[in-house]
Symmetry: C2
Subunit: 286 residues, 2 copies
Amino acid sequence: MYVHNAPTNNLPPTIMRSAFFISDGTAITAETLGRSLLSQFGDVKFDIKIIPYVDTIELAQDAVKRINESYRLSGLKPLVFDTIVSDEIRAIINEADACNLDIYEGLIARIADEIGHKPDPHAGMAHGRVDSEDYKARIDAVHFALDNDDGARTTHYDGADIILVGLSRSGKTPTSLYLALQFGIRAANYPLTEDDLDTSQLPKALQPYRHKLFGLTIDTDRLVRIRQERKAGSRYASLAQCQEEQRAIQAIYTTQKIPNLNVSEMSIEEIATRILQMTGLTRRIG
Amino acid sequence: MYVHNAPTNNLPPTIMRSAFFISDGTAITAETLGRSLLSQFGDVKFDIKIIPYVDTIELAQDAVKRINESYRLSGLKPLVFDTIVSDEIRAIINEADACNLDIYEGLIARIADEIGHKPDPHAGMAHGRVDSEDYKARIDAVHFALDNDDGARTTHYDGADIILVGLSRSGKTPTSLYLALQFGIRAANYPLTEDDLDTSQLPKALQPYRHKLFGLTIDTDRLVRIRQERKAGSRYASLAQCQEEQRAIQAIYTTQKIPNLNVSEMSIEEIATRILQMTGLTRRIG
């Protein structure tokens, strides 16, 4: 027997509402939007299921079975976020016993009306192919980030779009790679270590590139925690050492006029987006 | 004078319709969905403008000015995709002279109705913080991918979730990094080079990890093109050499029963998603 509209607040904690992200492609769009919408509900936990590549009637019927089974087991209507282009396949998904949040429905038609073009889902799919310009720009940027990670090499900074600086463990490496993968931006990164900080001067390798530098900072307590997890009990991870490095790097940022960002509360996506905004750097892809 | 509903087909090619992706956050959700919707219109080119962090009334008014200016200059109503949570700020954006594709409108209310919870946009935002579990999983995976890129080190394969293999320039490195950043998956990668291929045996370092191997392949003509761009005129980039390597690696995949994927037509996102689907690997984040 189905339980309709059961009040979720009184349920035992083991029963979670399912959320399905379904697409005929990677389901990245459905997932991105779905997670973003679900995050508006703060502490409510969802049991997330991602079903990509639902591009046949059979696969759509399989997905419907999974949705209905989830409803049967939990008594809670699953939330279904789908970005399926084919009307025929989408109609099958919409038959599931679920709260259907059909993302494309309506939107594509409104755009078509406004621009006076019919949708043509099969065109324009070539941009990501391994021999496309965008793909090459991404790969080149990724290899640039790898080759110029962690101050490994300092002779290619002429080709850098940006050089991230900061203390050890402030998030420079993942940010460089994200900038490369997502935006095709060539980001080097250089850790300012104790030796650099002692002099309160920029390291020689960086001096000609002051205009390309961007600093990442994080709160001292977080820095201590992250370093403790890496090297517990070390001087490197001590509060005194972290405080001293923080003081020194802030002095460098100030005297050298290096734009910088406190990334303590930020995801990698947020750091990268803020950097684009603050520097005015232009994406090479997208 | 505004030109309403001008037929886009007859416009000179220099006038493109603007599409704005606007958010009070990174605008990644608005951009992902917006690009996905626009890609349904194949060859139509849009002039894309991304405005993140519109979180005050003043910034919303600035955005409206930019939208209206674009309309004034082109005579074409801009498409506006926004994911703004605040009703007050969203209302300002919706006043622009544009085709407003207000993504959140309605969807949040429908979810709230279904789950019986009110939205609480300020909760649940901590997952990306630099000291969160998700952040740590991502960073660990990124460092794993870096340390185990391109066969650089083969002593840490016990800790790998997956080991990508393939010819030089088949997309292993960006795929490893994407798997790390997006899914927290620890992906090593190992290039099968001429020496490895001569024997039609797996290299010694890989033999104990056959169950973790996943092969990437690309079409020979694309491989030649990519290698030509890297080392024009070399034997490495010659058709004969690429054909021979392709034959040899396919033999290894077959005899060693290594699952593999032709990635020629795929973006990095698609490659990563297909790998998850084919292997059943579980994400460590998200």
